[in-house]
């Protein structure tokens, strides 16, 4: 069984695309081969900055011959029909076999497709793969029309078996396949030929190329942690950065360097962000002080001075970067300290000129709205209204600071530092950092009351505002991240178990928007239903069905999300019991009979069911059961104890079932019939007090 080796050698592939590209190469090639009948034992894909490599082992040497039998027209069918059949099958009349069937003699064709050599199939599949490769962004180069992520230089395509290795001939826009590749761009740039995957991987390593990105990442991480450990320090873990750096080098050489003394007092977040974003350095921390003191950079080569020149250069570049950061930090601190609790006035002034959205006013307008809203929300989340209003007023002022202008991802983090310097209380300063949260579905939500008030105010204002100018998310388009804001509201409320009527928040936000000329009246009912939609997605991930949530959304107080979810969880649980499931059937039956009777009679059966008109024990038992259930459900609902209420409701299953088994509702006696219909109405009403069971899917 032959093995296949493919290498696509190009100019530097962006680090973030390499892993996915190797996977795509494997998937597209193996799928294509299998589709053409070439099965294989195993396959592996690798990437470096300059190459995508695929190895396939135990491939069939040719695709198997296939035979297809096709049933044709009757033997005595018109000549035209037979001709058509022959054309389709690619056969002559003599090739057909005549067989007797119950419908008389019928013609059968036997179509044999001979197997094809692996090389032919591979060449075809690879050419197609290259031409249709799903790069996130691709380009043309020179005079050609081929697209690749960066110019593609060579194709190595080799089929190896016991007899030896053979190049699979292939020509893609003038790039002719061969058995050669090149080593490290600087350390071993010469071309060399290979005979198998093992030979290829071994020769690459001798040519200073580590083929496997996982091996490169491991070696970087080991060397980095060892060097840090030797100096009594530790590397700040960053898997994303590690993967990226492993995609920037073929021969990783880890170097640890120093951060200039002048910069060690910068906040850790500033050092980390600057080093990571600009230089792709790892931060190295002193575990005793928690300070970032050194950095790790990963070079792509060995040098005779053991990296001294490279490290000196990197230290110099870092110093220039950090000099900028320190300049911003010092300037910002000067502003913050001069403020002395004056509402961060210089930054506030700047924000009056910064547009938040051209139809929703400036950042300063936004802040004013948020502050009013945070004050309204404060009592609902247990925060001091003055503190919440103040936190909202100053919590975004760092957007005008120089540091945040340079590093937008440090918004809030810097605000907290600056507010502390300006003498604001801890909760107010913390709210500057925490009110943006949660940014992702797994991000922590704020828990401190002041942060909660500001975080909710920020998101509710945003949602109401964009609803007021009719800029809602559509399909995959959500440029203002409103789905994220809605999920944020949901998670903040639920994870903190806040009792909060969202409509109150929307109304207050809409009131604050009245000053904005371009904003219409926000359709807050539509906004609430948007929140409900997001809630369904959120709860579905927790195993609660859509229809269960719908049954609860249909109930009053559905803008109190904590209440809504408690109800949904209780209903979901009860529906998972046998009683609950059967009660739904019974409820549906009661409801159907009732609805039909009401339609036929043109009246509404609602009240007046009376045990004295009962004809059977089952009826009387049901009356008693309903009285009992109601006696438990009503107080439970008053206490919002849904579990008890739902259990009481599910307890109706047996008497209701017994009733339906024994009793014909549409009795000939009009009084008995009316009484029974009124009884059914009582069942549905009791259930309807708990949740709208008509929405539960059957």
């Amino acid at each position: 069984m032959p093995d296949l080796l493919i290498e696509l050698f190009s100019e530097e592939i962006p680090a973030r695309m390499q892993r996915r590209a190797a996977d795509d190469l494997k998937k597209l090639m193996t799928n294509g081969l299998v589709e053409a009948g070439l099965t294989y034992a195993s396959a592996g894909a690798f990437s470096t900055p300059r190459r995508l490599t695929l190895t396939v082992e135990g491939l069939l040497s040719e695709s198997p011959t296939t035979v297809e039998e096709r049933k044709g027209p009757k033997a005595d069918a018109p000549e035209k029909a037979i001709e058509g059949f022959l054309r389709g099958a690619g056969l002559a009349r003599d090739d057909l076999e005549e067989r007797d069937t119950p419908k008389g003699p019928v013609l059968f064709a036997r179509i044999e497709k001979p197997g094809r050599p692996a090389a032919d199939i591979i060449a075809e599949v690879l050419a197609t793969t290259i031409r249709s490769f799903p790069w996130p962004k691709s380009m043309r180069w020179g005079s050609g029309s081929l697209r690749w992520v960066r110019p593609l230089h060579s194709i190595l395509c080799l089929l190896t078996d016991e007899a030896g290795a053979e190049v699979v001939p292939l020509n893609v826009d003038g790039i002719v396949s061969g058995d050669a590749t090149a080593g490290h761009r600087f350390m071993a740039p010469d071309q060399f030929s290979v005979t198998s995957f093992e030979d290829y991987a071994a020769k690459l390593k001798r040519a200073f190329v580590v083929l496997d990105p996982a091996e490169r990442a491991d070696s970087i991480w080991n060397d980095a942690t060892n060097q840090a450990f030797a100096a009594g320090l530790e590397v700040v873990e960053d898997q994303g950065l590690l993967a990226e750096v492993a995609g920037l080098v073929e021969w990783p050489v880890v170097l640890m360097g120093r951060i200039g003394e002048d910069f060690l007092d910068l906040p850790a977040e500033v050092l980390q962000t600057s080093m990571k974003e600009h230089q792709k350095f790892f931060s190295v921390r002193n575990p005793k002080t928690g300070r970032i003191e050194q950095f790790i950079t990963v070079a792509n080569r060995e040098t005779k001075d053991n990296g001294a020149t490279i490290l000196a250069g990197n230290e110099k570049v870092l110093s220039a970067r950090l000099a900028d950061a320190k300049f911003f930090w010092d300037n910002d601190l000067r502003v913050a300290r001069a403020d002395a609790g004056n509402g961060m006035a210089p930054w506030m002034d700047k924000l009056r000129d910064v547009t938040f959205h051209n139809r929703l006013g400036t950042q300063a307008d936004l802040i004013a709205r948020m502050s009013a809203l945070a004050r309204t929300l404060a009592p609902m989340v247990g925060a001091d209204p003055d503190a919440a209003a103040q936190a909202a007023r100053v919590g975004k002022t760092d957007l005008a600071s120089e540091m945040v202008y340079e590093f937008p991802e440090l918004q809030g983090v810097m605000g907290r530092y600056y507010l502390r310097e300006a003498g604001y209380s801890e909760p107010v300063a913390d709210a500057a950092r925490d009110h943006y949260a949660p940014l992702g579905p797994t991000d922590d939500v704020p828990v401190e009351p002041v942060s909660l008030a500001v975080a909710l105010a920020e998101k509710i204002d945003k949602l109401t505002g964009f609803w007021a100018i009719d800029e809602k998310p559509t399909g995959s388009k959500d440029p203002f991240a409103l789905r994220r804001a809605a999920l944020g509201v949901i998670r903040i409320v639920l994870e903190n178990d806040l009792t909060l009527r969202l409509s109150d928040g929307f109304e207050a936000a809409a009131g604050a928007l009245a000053d904005i000329r371009d904003a219409g009246a926000a359709d807050t009912a539509d906004l609430l239903s948007f929140i409900h939609d997001r809630l369904k997605v959120y709860l579905r991930d927790q195993g609660i069905r859509h229809d269960v949530i719908d049954a609860c959304i249909a109930m009053p107080g559905n803008d109190d999300l904590a209440l809504l979810v408690r109800r949904a969880r209780a209903l979901s649980e009860v529906l998972n019991t046998e009683d609950g499931e059967n009660l739904i059937q019974a409820f549906r039956r009661a409801n159907n009979i009732l609805t039909q009777a009401e339609e036929a009679d043109g009246v509404e059966y609602s009240y007046g069911a009376d045990p004295k008109f009962s004809q059977t024990d089952e009826e009387r038992a049901l009356f008693e059961a309903l009285d009992e259930a109601e006696a438990r459900i009503t107080p439970a609902m008053e206490k919002q104890d849904f579990t008890t209420a739902m259990a009481a409701m599910a307890g109706l299953r047996a008497p209701v079932d017994a009733f339906f088994t024994a009793v014909q509702v549409n009795d000939d006696n009009a009084t008995v019939r009316r009484n029974r219909l009124n009884l059914l109405s009582r069942i549905t009403r009791i259930c309807a007090a708990v949740a709208d069971l008509t929405r539960i899917a059957g």
């Binding site: 020179g142 990197n314 570049v317 547009t355």
Partner: protein, 313 residues
């Protein structure tokens, strides 16, 4: 690798070596464009010549102006007026990376000691309606060049594709010469009778322009000039293609493009003066892009842009 090249001694020596290197590789050595531009890409030798089918190979120094980057000559790395070295080759040759690395060796970067990396950087110029894919080239962690394969310019697909190299000369030279502050960098050979530093030549102009750019440039005048340049660019292009005097087919792309460049620079000045709000910014950029697009449309209708009477027929 070639034998070690000596380290240059001055800013101008680095420029001269780049000139000599790219000349030896067959590029036409052009001179700077005689107008204020934000980057070497605005030179018609790049913007317009990257369009159409005709082969092209040119290199030049381009003084570039970014009014908002002025720091009165105080910041070690930032200038409102600086130099770019620009190379444009169409179609991009298959060995463009090797050619580029050769240029680094020519200016004294020893490949055996330094760490050169090609780091993803997609280039886009909203005012030129242009984009391309390529890298920033890092030397020991410092960005020393941009390397781009042009895909679109002025809204037109580039076919063939041009390879563009842009060197930020001051930063590169500071690194090679081991200078920490741009103003301390030797402009000519320090051993000459009249040694001049970068600061001797540019410190005063940085001060003057920083003050003018940030505080005193007359915004009313600039706004008017912007409108005029914009209107002028359009009227030039609307002129009859056949020159009534000579009877020749003369589309005045370059004069029109000059007005587009002018509008672009005036926009940068207005931006530095802080009179353009965030929302207006996009609108201004869109207006400049509309002009460069008109110029690109017109250029491909000229002989330099690959037009022939046959192709028109």
């Amino acid at each position: 690798m070639s034998e070690t090249v000596s380290t240059p001694r001055s800013f101008q020596e680095i420029i001269l070596r780049l000139q000599s290197y790219w000349s030896s590789k067959g590029c036409a050595m052009l001179q700077p464009y005689d107008m204020e531009v934000g980057a070497g890409t605005f030179h018609p030798a790049t913007t317009l010549r990257s369009l159409g089918t005709k082969p092209w190979a040119a290199a030049y120094v381009q003084p570039s102006r970014r009014p908002t980057d002025g720091r009165y000559g105080e910041n070690p790395n930032r200038l409102q007026h600086y130099y770019q070295y620009q190379v444009l080759i169409k179609p991009s040759p298959p060995d463009l990376q090797e050619l580029y690395l050769g240029s680094l060796e020519a200016i004294g970067i020893d490949m055996a000691l330094h760490d050169i990396r090609f780091v993803e950087d997609d280039w886009e110029s909203p005012t030129l309606g242009a984009w391309g894919l390529g890298w920033e080239v890092w030397c020991d962690g410092m960005e020393v060049s941009q390397f781009t394969y042009f895909q679109q310019v002025g809204g037109h697909d580039c076919a063939p594709v041009s390879g563009e190299l842009t060197y930020g000369l001051e930063r590169l030279a500071m690194y090679i010469l081991g200078v920490d502050h741009v103003m301390d960098m030797p402009f000519n050979d320090p051993q000459t009778p009249v040694p001049l530093s970068y600061g001797d030549i540019f410190h005063q102009t940085e001060e003057e322009y920083a003050r003018w750019n940030f505080d005193t440039a007359d915004t009313a005048v600039l706004l008017r000039h912007f409108e005029e340049a914009e209107a002028h660019c359009r009227t030039i292009l609307e002129a009859e293609h056949t020159d009534p005097k000579t009877g020749r087919r003369i589309i005045m792309v370059h004069p029109a493009y000059d007005q587009a460049i002018k509008a672009s620079h005036i926009f940068n000045l207005l931006d530095a003066r802080g009179v353009i709000s965030v929302t207006e910014r996009q609108a201004y950029i869109g207006r400049v892009r509309a002009l460069t697009k008109l110029c690109a449309d017109a250029f491909v209708q000229t002989r330099a842009g690959g037009w022939t009477p046959e192709s028109a027929a």
